[in-house]
């Protein structure tokens, strides 16, 4: 049943697969982001309370959701790497981490730019904001830890372990708005009920979320290819590949 899964453990196969997928994914990501953002910026009505400032939602929510989605992807890769000793999974942990760090930074910065006009402050030490900041530090920790060992394999293993331990932060971020009194509003779409947002605003938002997801996949393909080349540089297939050019 999982026969198709086995070739994916072979670096050479993954390298070529990612190379084929990358241009399509990148094109789709940019097209979706342009569609979702232009729709959200110019073709949706303003919010009845927040006016036009609410349009920040079209990047704040996608980047925030995908900062957590990217972390899950990284943690799953780390788990596969540690349990089944799959090298490609090991390398993808380090390929994904910088993407997640950038998404988290975007979520924090856009949140600050939204908080200033609506809450009257750029930053408060409130549960949602603090736990999201910890997510950024977890990403940076994974990146730093992998580079802190002279042996690349040991560093990657330590980083994977940190990535798995950090999963505890994900439910804390998600439920922070329910568990603690916070300035941050509750969930509007990631809940088991009808989204509390008008369809005219929901559609461009969903498209932008999809755009951030596809962009994450595209960047993972690109960065994983580099990681495979670096780690397999002494193998014959990489030498043959480099000789072709």
């Amino acid at each position: 049943m999982f026969k198709w899964l086995h070739p994916l453990a072979k670096p050479e196969t993954v390298y070529h697969l990612c190379g084929k997928l990358y241009p399509w994914l990148m094109f789709a990501a940019i097209a979706l982001l342009a569609l979702g953002n232009i729709w959200g910026l110019a073709f949706t009505p303003p919010d009845y309370q927040q006016g036009d400032s609410y349009r920040i939602i079209h990047i704040h929510v996608p980047s925030a959701i995908m900062s957590m989605g990217t972390y899950s992807a990284m943690a799953i890769a780390a788990f596969v790497a540690l349990v089944w000793q799959v090298k490609v999974a090991q390398w993808s942990v380090l390929a994904i981490a910088p993407i997640g760090a950038v998404y988290t930074a975007i979520a924090l910065i856009t949140g600050m730019a939204w908080g200033k006009p609506m809450w009257g402050t750029w930053w408060v030490w409130d549960a949602r904001l603090t736990s999201e900041l910890i997510l950024l530090f977890l990403y940076l920790g994974v990146i730093a830890l992998s580079g802190a060992f002279s042996d690349r394999q040991t560093g990657a293993k330590a980083a994977s372990l940190l990535a798995i331990v950090g999963v505890i932060n994900l439910p804390i971020i998600h439920f922070s708005v329910e568990w603690w009194n916070t300035l941050h509003q509750g969930a509007s779409i990631t809940k088991f009920a009808k989204p509390s947002i008008d369809p005219s605003m929901l559609w461009p938002l969903l498209i932008s979320i999809l755009a951030f997801k596809v962009l994450m996949l595209a960047l993972t393909c690109l960065r994983l290819r580099t990681a495979i080349l670096v780690n397999e540089q002494h193998r014959p297939w990489v030498k043959a590949l480099a000789g072709e050019r």
């Binding site: 975007i106 960065r223 990489v238």
Partner: protein, 66 residues
């Protein structure tokens, strides 16, 4: 379009600073990440090609001198 004019669009109902700050930073960060990832790959491929060429030269030299 929900705005009457382009000027009104840029003004964002008085929230221009915050809206364009957000979108500007987002696109700048994403572009930097995409650009840097491409740069890393190009850089490594060049480095690899150089190393393989040097190995080739060393091999040729050794064959000649033996």
């Amino acid at each position: 379009m929900y705005f009457q004019s382009l000027a009104e669009f840029w003004a964002m109902g008085g929230y221009a600073l915050f809206v364009w700050l957000s979108f500007g930073t987002t696109y700048a960060l994403l572009a930097a990440l995409i650009g840097y990832s491409h740069y890393q790959q190009r850089q490594f491929k060049q480095q690899l090609a150089k190393r393989l060429a040097r190995e080739q030269r060393v091999k040729q030299y050794q064959e000649q001198s033996s």
